[in-house]
């Protein structure tokens, strides 16, 4: 469903992504991991065109992301994205956050959008907070709202950019639980994360990145049992030590 072929990206003269190639099939869950600065976030932001790239090709359901003729807003509306810092709109209530793009992009009526928002809030366990503002929610609650906001667009795939790394430890699981539920329902997902427990549990494949390259792209059990590259071994030994 998502094909990334020989992707390279520069900031001026500085090469940030080098020849990245991978594919994500319908219903697959891919975990992207690697040391900080390995440009995992940059890579997934290329998938919905938030980051431009200079070389290679990305196609989502055969629609080329880099093509100037592609209607990017239309494409993005079909791909949900969840950010490290939640990025809920602070001047809108939780319900308004979830309704905005439904109304403006999908042209749903207000009643329909609100109904969808409430159903999703029910699902992520936050229906009691529907009228609150993001500033009055905990980080874990905000991130669950952000997931609901993305799901409200009925996406064909979801991108998660370090969804739990800004959270206090006790809130990580409430967010991961929602993500595991999604994965089990068959949502296509690309997840940038350091949560190796989550990766073992639901990922079909692990993509390991270092310095803007995809160093390893292997089925989850293979990756954890016997990473081929020295760098992946080193990375795993560092984060799995405790």
């Amino acid at each position: 469903m998502i094909e990334i072929e020989h992707l390279s990206k520069w900031y001026g003269d500085f090469r940030v992504l080098t020849d990245c190639t991978t594919t994500v099939a319908q219903g697959e869950v891919i975990v992207v991991c690697g040391p900080s600065g390995s440009r995992k976030s940059t890579l997934i932001k290329c998938v919905n065109g938030l980051e431009p790239f200079e070389e290679g090709r990305i196609a989502v359901e055969s629609i080329s992301v880099g093509d100037r003729k592609t209607d990017l807003p239309k494409l993005r509306a079909r791909i949900g994205m969840v950010f490290q810092n939640f990025e809920l709109y602070p001047h809108m209530s939780v319900t308004e956050n979830i309704c905005l793009a439904q109304i403006k992009v999908l042209k749903r009526g207000k009643a329909e959008a609100v109904a969808r928002a409430r159903a999703l809030l029910e699902r992520v366990g936050l229906i009691d907070h529907a009228e609150k503002y993001p500033g009055n929610l905990s980080g874990g609650q905000q991130q669950r709202v952000a997931i609901a906001r993305a799901l409200a667009m009925d996406p064909i795939a979801m991108l998660f950019d370090e969804p739990t790394s800004a959270l206090d430890p006790e809130m990580i699981n409430e967010v991961l639980d929602v993500m595991v539920g999604l994965a089990e329902e068959g949502m296509t997902m690309i997840v940038v994360t350091h949560e190796m427990g989550f990766a073992r549990k639901v990922a079909d494949r692990v993509v390991f990145m270092d310095e803007g390259r995809i160093v390893e792209d292997a089925p989850t059990d293979v990756f954890f049992a016997a990473p081929r590259s020295e760098r992946a071994r080193l990375f795993l030994s560092k984060i799995l030590q405790h």
Binding site: K45, N48, L50, P73, K74, R76, A77, R78, I79, M81, F83, N85, E87, L88, Y89, P90, H91, L100, A101, K104, V105, L106, G135, R149, A150, M153
Partner: protein
């Protein structure tokens, strides 16, 4: 000089009120014109077209580096020489206020827009909103909340600053008070009243600014 004479003040009120209307009009037009021009400048400053951004930045730097009184002198004394006819002091001052305030408003608006995290724009775009929709629904409402108190403070400054028109013979509130005081030999009372009126209005406005800030802070 004797005690404070309420009857005298009542007699002076109509002239003072006329002056206050001029002051309020100058402030209103100055703020509206300054905001409109300032918003355009801010858009240019933030645009990716480097030439436009530099030109707008140059404008801001230039007008912020010159006393506003000098600007009023230009439009009152110099521009008429080129035009060949005189300019009414009110309009000369107003043009000066708009041009100078625009520089300040530009910076306030720019800072307001830049105070909104880039992630907010990404979130809007990622949800399928166009750049324009993202600006209108997500960035500008937050920017406006962030800059509201500063905009009000700047407007209060202009309200006081309009008293510069004294120099070019426009009968604003302060000028009116001065003229009456000199005419009736009541300078102390008139300057006292003028100070009191400016204080009450500015203090009330700054209280309002603080309340708005608390109410809309995010």
């Amino acid at each position: 000089m004797g005690g404070f004479d309420l009857a005298y003040l009542t007699a002076a009120l109509p002239l003072l009120w006329e002056g206050m209307q001029v002051t309020l009009l100058l402030t209103l037009f100055g703020v509206v014109g300054g905001l409109a021009l300032g918003a355009m400048l801010a858009v240019l400053r933030l645009s990716r077209a480097r030439l436009l951004a530099t030109a707008a930045a140059g404008y801001v730097t230039f007008f912020r580096s010159i006393p506003i009184l000098l600007g009023i002198f230009w439009f009152y004394f110099l521009v008429p020489i080129w035009l060949g006819h005189s300019i009414d002091g009110f309009y000369a001052a107003l043009v000066g206020f708009v041009l100078f305030e625009a520089a300040y408003f530009c910076e306030i608006i720019r800072a307001g827009i830049q105070s909104v995290r880039r992630g907010q724009i990404l979130a809007g775009l990622a949800s399928g909103l166009s750049y324009r929709q993202t600006m209108r629904a997500i960035v500008l409402p937050q920017a406006l909340r962030n800059m509201l108190p500063v905009l009000l403070t700047q407007s209060i400054n202009l309200f006081k600053g309009t008293s510069l028109v004294y120099i070019v013979g426009v009968r604003d509130f302060l000028t009116a008070a001065d003229v009456i005081g000199a005419r009736d030999n009541r300078i102390v009372e008139m300057y006292g009243i003028a100070a009191l009126v400016y204080f009450v209005i500015c203090f009330a406005a700054s209280l309002l600014a603080r309340r708005l800030q608390r109410r809309y802070a995010i």
